[in-house]
């Protein structure tokens, strides 16, 4: 049996109006991301990168077309099912880390597992192992405001990875960290992609991210400009 691609966009468009102006954020886009890819969406501001991530992340709905995640049509799912899908199959890494400020590093990383009602003991084992893997051993009890930007982003990566999602959507994950930290974070994500086979889809302007990508999809005005696959 042929495995469905992790992500598939079929003639997806997303239009909205900004004041009196009609904007085509995504315009009849066809795109397929296979399992285990380390792919970058790049392009100038307004090219539709973040909109595409939002559509794939079941945070937004297309004006037309179909978005499939592991073969499931997101348009056919209800609110509760979409919530469950985001919880179980999609990991998010945001530019501003977006950790829950009142939770510790451990609790932030544990957040999704707790939503999944994973038993406490299992949660503990998985979270501790992952925090160690991302280099945060010993910092479990620190709150986000007690961590550096890079450390916060590591927590965010741990939180995204811990439920074993089908895809991790990372929107400008290196934008708020220095070069050395960005390199470390990218190395970490690359290793996780390589070792665990997790699919990564980035939206970025950062050349360092593009340098590590296996595939670069260039967008302009919501349309595919170029799709470069690297060896």
């Amino acid at each position: 049996m042929v495995e469905a691609p992790t992500v598939q966009l079929r003639q997806v468009s997303k239009h909205y109006t900004q004041g009196q102006v009609a904007v085509k954020a995504v315009d009849a886009l066809d795109l397929t991301i296979a399992k285990g890819e380390f792919t970058v969406l790049c392009g100038p501001s307004g090219s539709g990168k973040t909109t595409i991530l939002n559509l794939i992340g079941a945070l937004d709905v297309p004006t037309s077309g179909t978005v499939l995640l592991e073969g499931r049509d997101l348009g056919s799912l209800g609110r509760a099912e979409l919530s469950r899908l985001r919880r179980d199959r999609i990991g998010f890494v945001f530019q501003a880390y977006n950790l829950v400020p009142v939770l510790t590093a451990y609790e932030n990383a544990e957040f999704v597992l707790a939503l999944q009602n994973v038993p406490k003991e299992e949660r503990h084992q998985r979270v501790m192992a992952l925090l160690a893997e991302v280099g945060l051993a010993g910092l479990e009890n620190r709150r986000p405001d007690e961590l550096s930007g890079g450390q916060q982003q590591r927590v965010a990566i741990a939180r995204a990875i811990v439920p074993n999602p089908a895809v991790i959507l990372a929107d400008e994950p290196t934008a708020n960290v220095d070069s050395a930290t960005a390199d470390t974070l990218l190395g970490l994500m690359e290793r996780l992609n390589h070792e665990k086979g997790i699919t990564f889809l980035f939206s970025t302007h950062d050349q360092r991210v593009m340098d590590r990508a296996h595939r670069i999809i260039r967008l302009q005005d919501g349309r595919l400009l170029d799709d470069e696959v690297r060896e």
Binding site: D60, N98, A114
Partner: protein, 412 residues
């Protein structure tokens, strides 16, 4: 999901705001305890004082007597009724009595007034205010004797002293004028000139003979119970036990309709005041929770992006509201307890302002303001404050659960 821990930590993010809100809840508890406790005490005191001034909590009377009292209406088997009623569970005491209008004279002077015929062997100061207030002499000992106890003001008007003769004139059961002679056995003073100048206490057995009521006659059987709030239930119970016949059973609400009306109006205005205070406090809680929700819109959106259901977000915010309510209640109990204990035991004495003889409708009112809370009132206050806190959190919680994740993510 550690909702409790998250909710609690969220409240601690703005400690000052949480403390101010909890303090306003605590202040609401304080006001509710003061208003309700004052009402519970003063209404009970008024009703019980009225009961021991001759009305009882429940009264068995001839039909129509309450609307148009007349000595021509009497219970022919008053003593039997008293015995049956006194044996009923929940009844503290029951007394057969006769009351009616009369003219009291001594020498050349006379005054119109009311007589109150009682059996000295049965009556107890616990259920008869006038016995507690005898300042000179004592209550006559013989129910068939010729003793009389008069009020201090009546004694002054008629120039009476202990042992002096008083001639009383009343109408008997047939409407004929009849007179009797008594000697002053005691003088009471309640402090209310209207009462002290008009009411005289006579022996029940003698008045039965004077009025032609026979051995058992009485115009009423006054019934006393421990808890005045059960008067209506006791009224129904006694009516059922006594069955139909030449009597009717009334509670104090009917025999003291004016007082019942005043209490009802006062209680209603008290409730309205408390509701208004409650709404103000709820608005404060609403403001705190709503501000907190607006400030955390991004956070809620992000949590929902990670898979938290909107129902879970609603639950989280509602939990924060509940915690503020619980915190406010605890703070309220801490600041209210010393006040309540003081007001329960000592109270505030207003006799310097209103005097010792302040009365409403002939019923003496305690010049000392005290607080008493019925168990039901405590539950109502706790439930009310908690309910308002919950209600104040509903809209903010609903709003939090409606934050579109994508809108929150966009601004990141």
């Amino acid at each position: 999901m550690p909702f409790f821990s998250m909710a609690w930590r969220n409240l601690l993010r703005s400690k000052r705001r949480t403390l101010i809100t909890a303090t306003s809840v605590a202040f609401g508890v304080f006001l509710a305890v003061t208003f309700t406790g004052s009402g519970d005490y003063s209404y009970t005191d008024l009703i019980n004082t009225s009961a021991i001034m001759g009305f009882g909590h429940v009264a068995v009377e001839p039909p129509g007597y309450n609307d148009t009292p007349s000595l021509a209406k009497w219970l022919t088997h008053g003593a039997d009724i008293r015995q049956r009623v006194a044996a009923v569970e929940g009844v503290s005491a029951a007394y057969s009595r006769i009351t009616g209008q009369g003219l009291f004279a001594s020498g050349a002077k006379s005054v119109g007034g009311v007589f109150f015929a009682i059996d000295p062997e049965l009556e107890s100061p616990a259920h008869n205010l006038f016995l507690r207030k005898i300042k000179q002499g004592e209550l006559f000992a013989d129910s068939n004797g010729n003793g009389i106890v008069v009020g201090a003001k009546m004694a002054e008007k008629l120039n009476l002293r202990l042992g002096k003769k008083v001639i009383y004139t009343v109408t008997d059961k047939d409407g004929e004028m009849v007179s009797g002679v008594s000697r002053v056995a005691g003088i009471y003073k309640t402090g209310d000139d209207m009462v002290d100048g008009a009411l005289a206490i006579l022996p029940l057995g003698r008045m039965r003979r004077v009025l032609g009521y026979g051995e058992q006659g009485a115009t009423m059987v006054n019934v006393f119970i421990e808890d005045q709030r059960r008067a209506t239930a006791m009224r129904h119970k006694l009516a059922k036990i006594l069955g139909g016949g030449e009597h009717q059973v009334l509670s104090w609400k009917q025999t003291q309709a004016d007082m019942a009306g005043l209490i009802a109006i006062d209680r209603a205005s008290n409730y309205i005041m408390q509701v208004l205070v409650g709404l103000l406090i709820a608005a404060g809680i609403f403001n705190t929770i709503f501000m907190s929700v607006l400030e955390r819109g991004r956070e809620f959106g992000m949590m929902m992006a990670l898979g938290m259901r909107s129902g879970q977000v609603v639950r989280l915010v509602m939990l924060e509201s509940v915690l503020i309510g619980v915190l406010g209640l605890l703070l309220g109990l801490i600041i209210t307890a010393p006040w309540y204990i003081y007001m329960y035991n000592t109270g505030i004495d207003f006799s310097g302002l209103i005097g010792d003889d302040y009365s409403a409708g002939g019923v003496l009112i305690d010049p000392v303001m005290k607080l008493r809370l019925f168990k039901e009132s405590v539950i109502a206050i706790l439930g009310g404050v908690f309910g308002l806190t919950l209600a104040a959190g509903i809209y903010p919680a609903w709003r939090a659960g409606r934050v579109p994740p994508v809108e929150s993510i966009k601004v990141l």
